[in-house]
Symmetry: D2
């Protein structure tokens, strides 16, 4: 790699002979937050990861509200829109089904897609229960389709670097893991009862929505969990109905939870999430301590990883703030010159690159990406946390 390329000032220096790039038909379920984030990922990926392993073709998008999904199709660039997800599963042009529907609609479409031989990319948390998750895992295993769960924070270059360094032994043996995912968006008592606050649709609250990310990163960076002791809390248990603010409905999910963790490898730790931490917008703090060093990461400054090594010379040890934007950092050679930071959405672009690469070149999704196996194991831990909170007892895994 030339020096110029290294610093990123030339993007087109070496012309490669143009080979035909294969297309992969994508069917998107859901058009809201994650629909928008994923669709953006499909569109952006081939621009940056060029030439791409395959080019996502936006075939169809599905959603229940006809006018809205039509608008979404127009906006995001899908050829077709459906109001029934089954139409996506049936559509022969589609090879990859991306399930961005609310949590109660992860199981059925994912299984149907697998049975139709389609590769499947599912939002997290994967299922409403570990039992459901197991069914989904069994379905994709049986169908031998590519499968990935959208734990996009695995694809933050700084986190990928963390994993690399841990693999190399930078931290020695891991002793402690500490994660807190903190937000504030529902602190206002007048904030309405959206689906994420309903157990029937979301399964859980902060636990599945935020905590699952931190739990997945714990499995990714440290390993499997053996047992948990946990507590949940709902700070506001009634809220105005969405679109009918004069009436109130019950909030039956957790606003916050905290869990003690025992890992199988002997490490200990804690994980928590809350939607009631004023000032924390999308703050996910990850700390890992080992016999030889420590690491610190904060999602609100996602281009940075702080590392500490006990192997440094004694008078010059300190937490080092690595800006993980060098060409030598994971996936960063596809992006901008160092110091030209990437944004939150780019974690999705990176993730979709990996998935498309796995599909196009028949590579394994894990351990880099989270498979349905990982989704299941993460759901087990969430369920154990929930169970522990309710029984006020330690709960061992697997359930």
């Amino acid at each position: 790699m030339s020096d110029e390329k290294k610093v990123g000032f030339v993007g087109m220096g070496e012309v490669e002979s143009h080979k035909e790039i294969r297309e992969i038909g994508v069917g998107m379920l859901g058009y809201a937050f994650m629909g928008k984030a994923h669709s953006n990922g499909y569109l952006k990926m081939p621009y940056f990861f060029y030439p791409p392993p395959a080019k996502p073709k936006l075939v169809a998008i599905a959603g229940r509200k006809s006018a809205a999904v039509a608008e979404a199709a127009r906006r995001y660039g899908y050829q077709t829109h459906y109001t029934d997800w089954r139409d996506v599963v049936k559509d022969d042009r589609i090879q990859l089904v991306d399930n961005g529907l609310p949590n109660d609609l992860h199981r059925e479409p994912s299984i149907a897609a697998a049975e139709a031989g389609k590769d499947i990319f599912c939002e997290k948390p994967m299922a409403m229960s570990s039992r459901e998750a197991k069914e989904m895992y069994d379905a994709v295993t049986k169908a031998r389709v590519k499968n990935m769960v959208a734990y996009n924070y695995r694809f933050i270059p700084a986190i990928m670097l963390a994993r690399q360094l841990i693999s190399e032994g930078y931290l020695g043996r891991i002793l402690q893991y500490r994660a807190a995912y903190l937000q504030e968006w529902i602190m206002d008592p007048n904030f309405p009862l959206v689906w994420r606050l309903s157990k029937k649709i979301a399964g859980s609250g902060a636990l599945g929505d935020l905590g699952s990310h931190s739990i997945d990163l714990g499995r990714y960076l440290v390993g499997d969990v053996a047992a948990v002791s946990a507590m949940k809390k709902t700070f506001i248990d009634e809220r105005p109905l969405l679109g009918e603010p004069s009436k109130k409905g019950k909030v039956d999910v957790d606003d916050a939870f905290i869990a003690l963790l025992k890992f199988k490898n002997g490490a200990i730790g804690s994980v928590e999430a809350s939607r009631f931490c004023a000032g924390r917008k999308n703050f996910q703090r990850i700390e890992v301590h080992g016999t030889e060093g420590s690491m610190y990461f904060n999602l609100e400054r996602l281009n940075e990883l702080q590392v500490y090594s006990r192997r440094d010379k004694e008078d010059r040890m300190g937490f080092k703030d690595i800006m993980a934007t060098e060409v030598v950092h994971p996936l960063m050679k596809f992006w901008w010159p160092h110091g030209h930071m990437i944004g939150w959405e780019d974690t999705h672009v990176n993730q979709i690159y990996h998935l498309v690469d796995c599909i196009a070149n028949d590579k394994k999704v894990d351990p880099l990406g989270a498979t349905f196996y990982d989704g299941w194991k993460c759901d087990e831990i969430c369920e154990a946390i929930s169970l522990s909170s309710e029984t006020e007892k330690w709960v061992s895994l697997p359930l």
Copy 2:
């Protein structure tokens, strides 16, 4: 705006009746770093700023190397590619010419485009000299075409917020401005003699490339400059030729400069840039002090603005780290929920939105964007800095 929209969890809640969206033909000159950043901006803008004021249509891209520009057209999605920029100017499908060529090729194509009645968006620094800049300014004024210079950091929401707060009097009367734009990419003596290190092509070194950004922000946040005293330094004056590393050529631009500033409104300050500051990747620190408060910004954490107000209660004053990602922050309603940070490339997306909005709805480019007038004034200051360095005297403005 509904609460849900406020926190960004619904992107498609309200369907607007679909009106036809006008297209604007874009011709891009240059395909390297800025060609890539701008093309990405044209592609991304309508996705986020939806419905967009108009939709950029990527008509043609021009560059000298035939194979490379063909590849760029394929990659970025341009319909046509040319090896002569004059073909872009002649192309009737093109309404907006985007000049991302090296600095010595800003003047002629921009003037030609203006004379052809095309709107023109030019990379910074605008020209090789203030005289050239004046010619360009005269040309677009005469032709009455929209014109903008790519001082994209004006479109960082945190910087836009800074400007808003200053306008509201948050800082009181401005007393001091301090800017340092620091990089490290040419510290290796074996780094080759790229065009940015050649006076004939680049005009200057760190001064025009980096310093011009900080000078433009100084004009944007504080006002016009009255006089400068400056010094320049070239730390490594010979480098290997690009593609012929056994031979060396002369570096005839500045590796670093520092300038004292007197503003017309009485404020004082300094601005500097360097490509030899180890560890600073794309670090641009902006500090503004006024009679009532202070501000601090760092480009490597571009979602944040720190502000200090003397009007706070005495026991609770402090620098406040605003994460400028709320829906109420400039342009942020078009992006992700708060705390889901945007990246460096999005400053270009925001800038292109503004330009397209100005073109489509015949709005004024300034004071939000930098016009060719601003480009000229900024070039004057750069030239004064250069002159001051060479004469070792204070230089007053205008030249």
Copy 3:
């Protein structure tokens, strides 16, 4: 207060008529880490808190090793030294007994001192068990002597400010508390089996040594604890004997612990401590979240308090870094001008000022300082944490 005094540039501007300053005889038990820190506090206090409420007179110091305690007396400035703490209790010149002995020697001397009618200042954790602590509390209550436990972090001006702001309602109703006290000093497996690693002398490990501070701050800032679920861990369970490194002895205290907390007022939280967090030297992070705002404190930057208020204007909310060094901040008028930071040792000076003021002017030690009641309640929580770890069950308080 004159402006000049306000900025601290005059310390001697107003001469007060010199009244005779009373002396208080101090007897110090122990001469090591805390002996040094407290003795320094007695010496420094009258210099800064001038005129002091009373002047501590260093009468006697006691320790088991004769030569060492003689040297300590010489160094710290005590008139007399003893090798038996009982001699301190008997010494009529002594009004205040300061117990800086290892934890197993807190109970007996403190009770004896109280019975001798002496005021008593005891290092933390106060006792080896909640039962012992209750005895000590009963003794001082019966004897009606002034009593304080050395939870010196209550006297950090930034923490005192935190408490003030919370009292004023700055955070609204408290929802969450999160504390982590992290050190690294015993990570080396060859680090010897010092008394702090022996249950017989120390009672517990990180829990009583570090965790007790964070638990006390939790009580100070949030309120009483209702129940805990906890885990402890000893990472290295054998270490070289001190002074006999070829032999090994058993480490029977915790190297780390983590506890979930339910507060009586409904808030939830966690507290943990570890001596195995590489890179964390004396890192104690305290986070408090309420319905109206949040706070953040880090002991390694003890002059600073970060606060976030939801009552700020929507476009300018952010964590504000208050440097708690203004004359209006608690106790800071006695120190240096703002920005001239105080050090760790000064938390002891502040604490001793408070104690001496309470003794000299017969004021109440609490709620600002921790009394033996607070020491007892804190020990109860520590014991509950220990019990919960061993039984793997939630434990309710009081025991």
Copy 4:
């Protein structure tokens, strides 16, 4: 050094045979801010640096206001007080004269003390002009007395570490130096005309008071200055008289200055100071860039030094935040365990230790401490900055 001592948990482990410690009689001129800071230094030093090279004996303090100086003597512990500094010079018990008087009273007492054969420790800036400074330097040279100027920031362990690392070549060849010393204490227009705002007494404003520190650190870390170009600014030129607020007097010193620097070794840089930077209490930022790395220091977090090395492995470079509180760090073995931060006042304690050690053991004050030679050279640079501001020309050194 035993492990226990290493982590600082035992201060008295090894008893040294008690040798008689010599005393050095100190005479203090001035009792305000610096009088307080230095006297504290003399008192504290032997406690921490034990056994001390010699023990300062506080013999006499002098000041013009009789009642105030009497009170100061009582408070600080001086045996005698005088209202005429000449009495200090005459006092045979005094070996070391510490001149903390306003700047216009540095020359005469220092020269008189030198002529009386007394060692002399003088506050900064050393003199009212470079000519005066030269006279002072000549006097101490002729008298062969120990001499030091109170550039106490040289004795911050983090700064001492910076110097060590630079000496070892950590930064390679120094290319750039950037210093800004920012305060805010006179922003209020009603703040009175104190002596520090009067040219006749102070000589200059922010330049001599704050800038001289940053200039001295520049000489300490980088080397001699060859030429300067500078500007000064007075933002408020009339203020209420002290003690007579209805009348106003002229401010004839600089509120702020900024200077470009050319160092003799080819490095370039800038130094500035201001008393009008809202939110900056005692903020002194020092940045040094070399061919192999960079350093960053901020006085408001004085226990920390940030360093960046280009020699790190490419994927793990970053600014490392060294908490300079380890026993291996300069002078830190005399203080608390690591992470137990020292305060601003301790820079004076460290400095006094060095001076007393030089006196007691006849060591050289420089290069660690600033001698009258350094004081003179620093004053020359200040004068050159002043001259450059007035003439608007570059000024070369030596004058």
